[in-house]
Amino acid sequence: MRTREQLLDSLASELTPVVRPPAPGLLCSTWLVASAAYVVLLTWLLGPIRPVALQQLLTVPRFSLEMLVGTVAACALAALAFRSAVPGSLSRGFAWGALGVLLLWLANFVLGIAIPTLEPSMLGKRDHCYLETFLYALPPLVGALYWQQRLYPMSPRRAAMLAGLAAGMLPALYMQIACMYEPVHILAFHVGPALLVAAVAPLMLLTWQKALAIGD
């Protein structure tokens, strides 16, 4: 076991100038805007959007509120994911707040099984919405993981899971507009794959780290 003095000497002699990465807030905003634009564009290019979605958004207050809560949850989760990669920048209150908004959004669909926000219908159904939700989330996830690793996540797996949740949330949220509206369908085929992305994210990170270790 080396002594503390030896360690201090070794760390000081290894010192190289470092470039500070952008602030987590800026990183998060950039990631959110780029990822949301990518998801919207890809979804629009690869399939039809529910024709009455915009009208429903403007005329059904509960649906507008649902989308608003979902958007807030997506932003809060993204902030959580990036803040968790910088020591001391994440407070317990913020983390609980973000998860609370997410739960509120999910609770709305559970309530929707009994009292749906919109009249359930097959209008706008996309054949592979579950696959789309999962696959569209992967590139944003890779981006978030890349930036997290450039920072210093103290719990890398937890940070990766949060990044997965944030990335999965974006296509899941947009499917509210792009795909058919039916609460059980939403929970199973939009929210389910988003949660799967969160579960897959730590495994992706592990694979990535292993590949990098082999590369070195």
Partner: protein, 197 residues
């Protein structure tokens, strides 16, 4: 009375003069900013000051175990690896102590203390259990845990007993012991988080 059975209360943490508190913070912030641009001398000074502060912080809260020194070294390495994430416009302490808390809890979870004591030998473990003059009483935060949790944590994570041995010692089931250890770790983590630094 064994130290393990003593129902110690968590004494209030030593208060530091607030002006010296913020002066330290400002100095560390300046030294880190300078280290980020590659100044070796400032970095050496910063690490040296931090190592003393962190050692004192952990020794007061967790006890003067040998593993505290290991923890301090791990924390210094983490500070080195994370130095690019420090933003000089922000206070230094929240950044530093987020790393300290995480690394300390992580080391306890992994049973660093246990391994260390086992390397030293069983004599150390016996002395630690038996004597009132041993180091066990010195960790204010551990002493602040409820008796049942403290016993479970101390026996398994600090003294190196296996779950089965510790459970037998406390006359409880092994699963009950594991629950207590888990709760003790959680409580310790929360106590470290809640405490203002």
């Amino acid at each position: 009375m064994s130290v393990l059975q003593a129902d110690c209360k968590l004494e209030s943490m030593p208060k530091q003069d607030s002006s010296s508190f913020s002066a330290d913070d400002a100095r560390w912030s300046r030294l880190m900013a300078s280290a980020q641009s590659g100044d070796e001398g400032d970095y050496r000074q910063l690490l040296s000051e931090l190592s003393d502060v962190v050692h004192r912080y952990l020794a007061v809260r967790l006890g003067g175990y040998d593993f505290v020194e290991d923890c301090v070294q791990e924390i210094l390495i983490a500070v080195h690896q994370a130095r690019h994430t420090y933003d000089a416009r922000r206070a230094f302490r929240p950044w530093l102590f987020a790393i300290v808390r995480h690394k300390a809890i992580d080391a306890m979870r992994r049973g660093e203390a246990r391994r260390r004591l086992q390397q030293v030998g069983n004599d150390t473990v016996e002395r630690a259990v038996a004597g009132p003059d041993c180091e066990l009483g010195s960790g204010q935060m551990i002493a602040g845990l409820p008796l049942g949790l403290r016993e479970a944590l101390t026996l398994t994570k600090l003294l190196g007993y296996s779950s089965a041995e510790a459970a037998q010692q406390l006359s409880i089931s092994e699963s009950a012991l594991k629950v207590r250890v888990h709760r003790a770790m959680g409580k310790l983590k929360r106590m470290l988080e809640v405490e203002s630094v």
